[in-house]
Symmetry: C2
Subunit: 206 residues, 2 copies
DNA sequence: CGTATTGGATACGTTCGTGTATCGAACGTT
DNA sequence: AACGTTCGATACACGAACGTATCCAATACG
């Protein structure tokens, strides 16, 4: 008889269904307009189920966000790791182009970020995520660049630049759903930034 | 006796007070959690005043947003126009660094953008703003670059890249309030992008 | 200076979401 | 197979925000 939460299989299932529903509803209704009731009905439960699994909507959101956030980082990391020892620039460009542009996830993240700016504790959560993105993605980028014969000059600066470009261009792509130009410009900007923050390794280096 | 809205001086004053209050409250409470009541009490009115000036909270928000948005664009344009015929790179860099990073405005815009992705009409509003930014800012940038001896290769691409970098780095600066590094990185990235999308004009050009 | 009109305040009924307290049913353990 | 435990449903009381309908006061106009 565990003291806090037994966490049986059944419990885990409904918890996950609530988490999944949360992403959908938060994306559809918006961060501030989301209610406990709608999340529950989306998950096929009543509020009773919710209150026996979470204590507040904030708690549910945070749990959902952490889960999805780490999953996203893993996805990106995997996509970039796949570059391996292929052809030079094009493989890298293709890998960057494969980074998913997810409508629902963007909305949730953007609104949560805005919200986090009001709350020191949440701001720390966002800062931590930024760090974990850097930690997970940068090594892979550096390695991929090395395979194309380039050495990164300032890793931290490159990391932040890539995140900024990613975030900034994601909106543009989403706002122009049927304009392929946006995606192309995005990829080009990614490559330009990679280029700006690295130098070719020549034979006489070092 | 005008048919629609007489728009007397008194009316205009309370309208403006409501618009000003709207920015504050939307920034503080968030897009979804903002209520008519709070906006009114912030402006020093009751709901009666509101409903005799606007028909819905959405209408108030849009009016406020258009007003502020064009004001912001004008500010940026003015800041960049000031580069005039000064010293080369540094003046441009200083001008870019002077672009305001406004906490409240960022929150409002970010949340509104997320919301606009759900509504075709609003999405068009955002797209129009993007265009007006390009139209207002690009010529000034191109001119400033020309004074430093550089010619822009792809104006549209540069415009979108600058907006993306602006948006992406603004969050980073706001999330790290007391870290000067973020601002410096921001400026550096701006300059790198300007550099990537332009070439030096040499004597043998053309 | 007086009167008509407009702008904003007050009062009201309604809807919607919340959180708690209670109850019934599915689970798994021996 | 029976029984105790846990999970989720149902019922309830409360509060918040909305939008309208009505009323009083400030303003503009003759």
């Amino acid at each position: 008889m565990p003291a806090a939460t037994p966490l049986t299989a059944r419990r885990a299932r409904t918890r996950q269904r609530l988490l999944d529903a949360a992403l959908d509803v938060f994306a559809e209704e918006g961060f501030g307009r989301t209610t406990v009731e709608r999340v529950c009905e989306r998950a096929g439960f009543t509020r009773g189920a919710f209150y026996s699994n979470f204590t507040s909507l904030d708690e549910l959101f945070l749990a959902m966000w952490e889960q999805r956030s780490t999953a996203m980082v893993d996805d990106v990391r995997a996509a970039l790791a796949g570059v391996a020892d292929g052809s030079p620039d094009d493989a890298l460009r293709a890998a960057l182009a494969a980074i998913p542009v997810d409508d629902a996830w963007y909305r949730v993240t953007a609104e949560f970020t805005a919200h986090a700016l009001r709350n020191p504790a949440l701001r720390r959560v966002m800062a931590a995520r930024e760090r974990s993105i850097q930690d997970a993605v940068l090594p892979v980028i550096v390695a991929a660049l090395a395979r194309t014969g380039r050495r990164v000059t300032d890793e931290a600066a490159l990391g932040h630049a890539l995140v900024a470009v990613h975030d900034g261009t994601t909106v543009q792509v989403l706002l122009e759903p049927d304009d392929a130009t946006a995606r192309i410009r995005r990829e080009a900007l990614f490559m330009n930034v990679l280029h700006a923050y690295s130098t070719p390794i020549t034979a006489d280096d070092r």
